[in-house]
Each structure stands twice: as C-alpha cells, then as structure tokens.
C-alpha cells in the first residue's frame, strides 16, 4: 500500500520521455533495473528501479505501477560496507599477537584480507525510496530529501530516460505558475524585502538591475546579471534607503 505520510522533493520532468503506459517505458526501467550485490566481495553500492510488487527488479508489471493519476515507482539502493568495528577487533588481535603496533602497510593488508573474508558473508543494507510520477503534468515526487539521494536519483533518471529533472523551488515553481509576462520578467530582477527594525518603513529592495545602476552610474548592461556565475552580491538584502533611492531613479 502506498505511504500515508512522509517528506518529498518535487521535480519537473524536463524533456520527452516514453508514454508511461507503453512498453518503451517499462523497457527503459528494466534497462536500469536494480542489480543485486548480495554476493559481492567488495564494498559496493547498487541503485536501480524496482516496483512495489517486485522489489528484486526482475519485472515491471504495469499493474504494480499504475495508480491512475500517478505512477508509483521505487528506487532500491543497496550498500555493502565492511563494519568498522570488525576492522578494529581484528587489528587489536593482530597487534596483541605481534606484540607491537601494525605498520600502515600491515593495516592495509589486514583490511583487504578482512574484506575478502567477510564481505561475501555480509548482507547489504537495503533502502527503498518511493517515487510518484504524474505523467500529465510531468510532476515527480521523490520521497527522500537527502542531497546524496537527490543527486543519485537524478543521475538514474537521466540514464533511464535521457531527459533531465528540474527541482521544484521558489524560482522554478514561479516559472510554471501561469503568471503573466510582466510578472515573469520581474521574477529575475526581484530582490528580498529588507524588513528593517522599523517594519513600517520597510520596503522591498529595488530590482537588482537598478541597484547595480545605483552603485555604478555607468551605462547599464542588462545582460550582466544573467550568467556571470558571480552575482551573489545582487541577491543580498538591501537597506530600505538604498532601495528607495534606486527605485526613485527608475
């Protein structure tokens, strides 16, 4: 049964993907399906698609995925790691037998021997992350919020469908909110309101381009704040006075 609570990160699908109810869609999932690392003899991470009906990743039945308005997918992430406590125990044993501390080389050899011995016997940790896709709107909800999960998921998505995901945040959501042209044009200029110690006198800082104009009276280059990669000053809060003057200048 699908979850009743949780946190999610929303994305917009940016590009074309196969019809989610077509064979091409399930074939794409199968191409990046989860692959087991149960018997692996090295520290590994495996990430891939599964469904709630088959968490092994061996099959992708539409009936396990289709929830009418949305499609329910799952990402399985298995991690196999040598427990640090075993390394400490074996090292202590070895140092007691030798009657001295192990050298760096000996510690490395000990760890490699331990990996060969223990990793095939250790089961990986398993993580299942729900994904809800609304094909009609191209909205996707990922039920996990860690940065590493988001990064890995976006890579998996691209490998699967050869299209990108755009994370939903104040700017990207505003762009898709059906606002009129003036509002959208202002979106890239809008600066934070600086609610001062006396909020009755507070006001939004002037549009960033105008603040730039105030600081440098030279002719305004309207392309300056687009892609220069270092426009952080443009986004700083601005005091009421400076903003008001700049706005008045306009």
């Amino acid at each position: 049964m699908f979850r009743r609570s949780g946190s999610f990160v929303a994305f917009f699908v940016d590009g074309r993907m196969p019809d989610p109810r077509s064979a091409a869609f399930t074939e794409a999932l199968a191409g990046q399906r989860f692959r087991s690392i149960e018997s692996a003899a090295s520290e590994e991470v495996s990430i891939g698609w599964v469904t709630s009906g088959d968490p092994t990743g061996d099959s992708f039945e539409l009936e396990d995925i289709d929830l009418d308005r949305g499609l329910w997918l799952q990402v399985r992430t298995d991690k196999k790691k040598l427990p640090a406590v075993w390394v400490r125990i074996r090292r202590a044993q070895a140092e007691r037998s030798a009657g001295r501390k192990l050298s760096a080389r000996e510690r490395k050899e000990l760890k490699e021997a331990l990996m060969d011995e223990l990793l095939p016997r250790i089961l990986p940790s398993v993580g299942l992350t729900d994904v809800l896709l609304e094909p009609k709107s191209g909205l996707l909800l990922l039920f996990g919020t860690s940065t590493s999960l988001k990064d890995e998921f976006q890579k998996l998505w691209f490998r699967t469908f050869a299209c990108n995901l755009v994370e939903c945040e104040p700017h990207s959501l505003a762009q898709r909110s059906g606002l009129d042209r003036d509002a959208l044009a202002y979106l890239d200029e809008v600066a934070p309101v600086r609610w001062s110690d006396d909020p009755a006198q507070a006001a939004p800082a002037a549009p960033r381009k105008l603040v730039v104009a105030e600081q440098a009276p030279a002719p305004i280059d309207h392309d300056d704040d687009s892609d220069d990669g270092d426009n952080s000053d443009d986004h700083d809060d601005n005091e009421f006075g400076a903003g008001a003057e700049a706005e008045a200048m306009a």
Binding site: F8, G70, E169, P170, H171, L179, W195, P199, A200
Partner: protein
Amino acid sequence: MSDAASHGFLGEEFLTWLWFRTETEGGEFDLGEGRVVGLSFDDYIEFAPLDDDETEHTLKKGIPTRSSEARAALKSGHRLRRARLVLGMGDLIWLFTLDGATLGLRSVKLPDDDEEAEGPEEVSRERAVNFLLIHELMGKVYREFLRLRLRRDYRANAGAEQARWMAG
C-alpha cells in the same frame, strides 16, 4: 549562484505573507475551478536569521504565532524559514511542514483514508492523488502570493500593508 539558491528568499517571504494573510484576511483562499482551501498555522514556526551570526529562533507547541516572541521577531524584521501548516479542502485535511527556501513539503500527513475504499489498491490510488493534490494546491496558493509580490508597485501597496502589520 543558481536561480534555485538565489530565490530562496521568495519562499521565505511567501511563508511570512501566509501568516500576514491568514491573520488579516483569514485563511481561506479561492483557487478557482471551484476549489476553496482553508489554511492555518499549526504548532511550529522557525524564523530565518537576519545574518549568519544571529541565533536561530524556533517556537513550538501551543499556538506559536500568537506568542510575544513571535511578535518580537516580526517587529525586528525576521521572515519565516519553516512552519507547520494545516490545509483543508472539503473533508480533506493535510498537515505538513513547509520549508520556505525550497518550498519543500516535509513530514506530510495525508487526510484519513476513505473508510469505504475497497482494498489496498484503491487506498493506494487515493493516497497518491492526495500527495499530488497537496503539492498542486500549495502551488496555487504560492501563485496568489506571486501575483502580488511580482508587481513593481508591491512596495507601495501590499508590501506597505504587510510592513504595518509586522510593526503592529
């Protein structure tokens, strides 16, 4: 700086505006297409620091928006960073924490399952719809805010009203 990182303030202003809007006009929003939602603040609010060195303000339990500490934070010009909200539409009620900078919905609790749902598949379908719906509804409330905020005369009108409320 990316657009995502640079416009986090807009989400925090949205949260602060929600507080202003619910206190001054009530929490009802007509989102069109026959959809009317009611929104209120629950038991958790967190203020964004004015600068990196400032202590963070978090208020929880009871009705934190009514506390003297919350009024003092508003007066000194703080905007909200996160808040636990309740949104209702008809019989459906969602609880969630809205993160201003990302507009991410955290710790979402969906409305109760329909008692008449036939089997786990129908319950799953209903839950999926309710997750998609809360995202959609909050997107539409955000649009209401943007329609005011992305006007060049915001400072003279809606912004000035909110400033008076914050000072009051």
